[in-house]
C-alpha cells in the first residue's frame, strides 16, 4: 500500500474495534475451513500493515484449532515496480520467514488491497525464498481500483472508494485504538 501523507479535509470512521474483532474471527474460520485445518499453513504479513494482522489471525486460529501456526513478515520495498520513479525510496524493513516456505500453503496478509501492485511485489519476493505449494491472500479492506488481475481469497470488508480518498487501518499495536478510517481530500 502506498501511503501518501496528503492533507486531509475530512475523516470518517468506517470500522471500530468490535467490527475488526468480528472480521478477524470470521477470516480465521474461513482460512481453517478452506484449508481443512491448518496443516502446512503459514501466515505472512506484508510490512507494515499486514504484520500485526497476521499475528492476530494466528491467535484467533489457535483458539479454533489449538495449534500455533507459523507467522512471518515480508518487506516488499526492493520488489516494487515504482522504485525508480519515486522521489523518496521506501524504508527497507525486516523480512522474517519462520520456516522454509517450499511446499507450504502461504496466506499473505495485508491491511488494504488497492491497486494490487503490492501483492504482485510480495509474490515475487516470496518466490525468491522458495516455491510455495500455494499462495492465498487475506485482506482487511478491499477498496477497489485494481490495476492488476489480482483478487483476495479472504476479504474483511469491501469498501468502494474514489481515487482521491485514502484508507488507513489503525491498530492497537501501533498505539492507536483499533479502527479503519476513511480520509477525504
Amino acid at each position: 500500500m502506498m501511503r501518501k501523507k496528503t492533507r486531509t479535509k475530512s475523516t470518517k470512521e468506517l470500522l471500530g474495534s468490535k467490527d475488526i474483532k468480528r472480521i478477524i474471527s470470521r477470516i480465521a474460520h474461513e482460512i481453517t475451513e478452506k484449508n481443512k485445518g491448518v496443516e502446512n499453513l503459514c501466515l505472512i504479513g506484508i510490512q507494515r500493515g499486514g504484520v500485526h494482522l497476521a499475528r492476530r489471525l494466528a491467535l484467533e486460529i489457535k483458539t479454533i484449532e489449538q495449534v500455533d501456526i507459523p507467522v512471518g513478515s515480508l518487506d516488499i520495498s526492493l520488489y516494487r515496480d515504482d522504485i525508480t520513479i519515486r522521489k523518496e525510496q521506501p524504508v527497507v524493513r525486516k523480512t522474517e520467514l519462520p520456516l522454509d516456505i517450499t511446499d507450504k500453503k502461504i496466506v499473505l496478509v495485508d491491511d488494504v488491497l488497492f491497486t494490487g501492485r503490492s501483492i504482485r511485489a510480495a509474490m515475487d519476493a516470496l518466490m525468491d525464498f522458495g516455491r510455495p505449494a500455494q499462495i492465498q491472500l487475506a485482506v482487511l479492506i478491499d477498496r477497489g481500483h485494481r490495476e492488476l488481475p489480482i483478487r483476495a481469497d479472504y476479504v474483511g470488508k469491501n469498501i468502494p472508494t474514489s481515487q482521491k480518498e485514502n484508507i488507513e487501518v489503525e491498530l492497537i499495536e501501533e498505539a492507536t485504538p483499533d479502527r479503519v478510517v476513511l480520509y477525504k481530500e
Binding site: V92, T95, F129
Partner: protein, 305 residues
C-alpha cells in the same frame, strides 16, 4: 533522500547518515539469503571508473551493484583511452552518451568526483579521491561501530596511522564529529594534516592515545604515496605506531579494532591483533557491501542538483 550524488561526508546531514546506516541494515539481511539478488535497480546501468588501482573497493561495489540487479560496466585506466591521451572531460561525456545511470569513480586527484558530477547527467559516487574523501568507507565504518557498540555517539575513537594521506581518516573524522564523539589521532608528526575547525586531540605517543579508547581504527601505511621520507623505516614505524597486543590492552576491555584493508601485517598491525576476537575487520568487508547497496538504492530516488 533528496541527494543524487555521494561526493563526501562533509556535506551530509546527521539524518542522511542515519538513513544510509538504517537502510544498510535491511540490505545486510538480504545478503544472508539464499538468493542474494533483489530486483530493486533492474534496468539501471552503472560504470565503475577507477583511475587508481583498487581491488577491494571495486569488487565490493561490483558485488553490491550486481546484488541490486544493475548492469555493470568496468572501466580501468590501463585498458582505456585515457592512456591514448583523452581528457577526463571527454571521457565522462562519452560515458554520458552511453546513457549510464550511476558512475562510481576513484581518482588520485582530490575533487575529481565533484568535477564529474557537475558535468554529467548521472548519479556520481565517490569511491575515493586523492587525499580528500572516501565516503562509503566512512559509512560502512559507522555502520560497523553502531552494530558493535549500539550507538554512534559518546565514544572515544582513536585513529592511528598515516592521517595525512588517508581519505578514509578524513571521511571518518567528518562523520564521527557530527555525532558527539571524542576523536583522537595518533601519527608521526610528519603525517598529521592541518585539520582546522575539528575538535580532535593529537598524540604522537601511541600508549597515551590508546588509553581508554572504545574504537581503535588503524590505517594502512600507503607505501605508494610515500614519495618523500615521512618516517625512517617500516621496522621503526611498527615500533612506535604499530598496534600489538600490549598496546591494545591499554584501550577499553571491549574496544574493537578496525582496519579498512588491505592490511600490512607487521607494519601497522600485528597478526595476533588482526586475528583477535576484538578485530571486526572482516565484518567491515561484509558491511561494505550492505552500505554500498543502501547508497545506490537511496540515491536512485534522488532529485536535486
Amino acid at each position: 533522500m533528496k541527494k543524487r550524488h555521494l561526493l563526501g561526508i562533509r556535506d551530509l546531514s546527521r539524518n542522511e547518515i542515519e538513513r544510509f546506516i538504517e537502510t544498510a541494515k535491511g540490505f545486510k539481511d538480504v545478503l544472508k539469503r539464499d538468493i542474494k539478488k533483489v530486483p530493486a535497480l533492474r534496468g539501471k546501468t552503472v560504470i565503475n571508473l577507477f583511475f587508481e588501482p583498487s581491488t577491494r573497493t571495486k569488487t565490493s561495489f561490483e558485488i553490491a551493484e550486481k546484488r541490486l540487479s544493475m548492469d555493470v560496466l568496468n572501466f580501468s585506466v590501463p585498458a582505456s583511452s585515457v592512456v591514448k591521451g583523452e581528457s577526463l572531460y571527454d571521457t565522462i561525456k562519452t560515458i554520458e552518451a552511453y546513457g549510464v545511470d550511476f558512475i562510481v569513480i576513484r581518482h588520485s586527484s582530490s575533487g575529481v568526483p565533484h568535477f564529474v558530477a557537475n558535468n554529467i547527467n548521472a548519479s556520481v559516487i565517490n569511491a575515493g579521491d586523492g587525499i580528500n574523501e572516501h565516503p562509503t568507507q566512512a559509512l560502512l565504518d559507522a555502520f560497523s561501530i553502531k552494530e558493535n557498540k549500539g550507538s554512534l555517539e559518546g565514544l572515544t575513537i582513536t585513529i592511528v596511522g598515516d592521517i595525512y594521506h588517508s581519505r578514509v581518516a578524513k571521511s571518518n573524522i567528518y562523520l564521527l564529529s557530527k555525532f558527539n564523539n571524542r576523536i583522537r589521532l595518533i601519527a608521526p608528526p610528519t603525517l598529521i594534516p592541518d585539520i582546522k575547525g575539528f575538535d580532535v586531540e593529537i598524540f604522537s605517543d601511541m600508549d597515551k592515545g590508546l588509553a581508554g579508547a572504545d574504537i581503535v581504527m588503524m590505517l594502512r601505511i600507503q607505501l605508494e604515496r610515500q614519495g618523500s621520507a615521512f618516517f625512517p623505516s617500516i621496522q621503526e614505524y611498527f615500533k612506535f605506531w604499530g598496534l600489538d597486543k600490549r598496546r591494545l590492552s591499554l584501550a577499553k576491555k571491549d574496544a574493537i579494532v578496525m582496519h579498512p584493508g588491505p592490511m600490512n601485517r607487521g607494519v601497522e598491525i600485528s597478526s595476533d591483533v588482526a586475528d583477535s576476537p576484538q578485530s571486526v575487520i572482516l565484518e567491515q568487508v561484509t558491511n561494505g557491501l550492505a552500505v554500498r547497496m543502501a547508497v545506490m538504492y537511496l540515491l536512485s530516488g534522488g532529485v536535486d542538483s
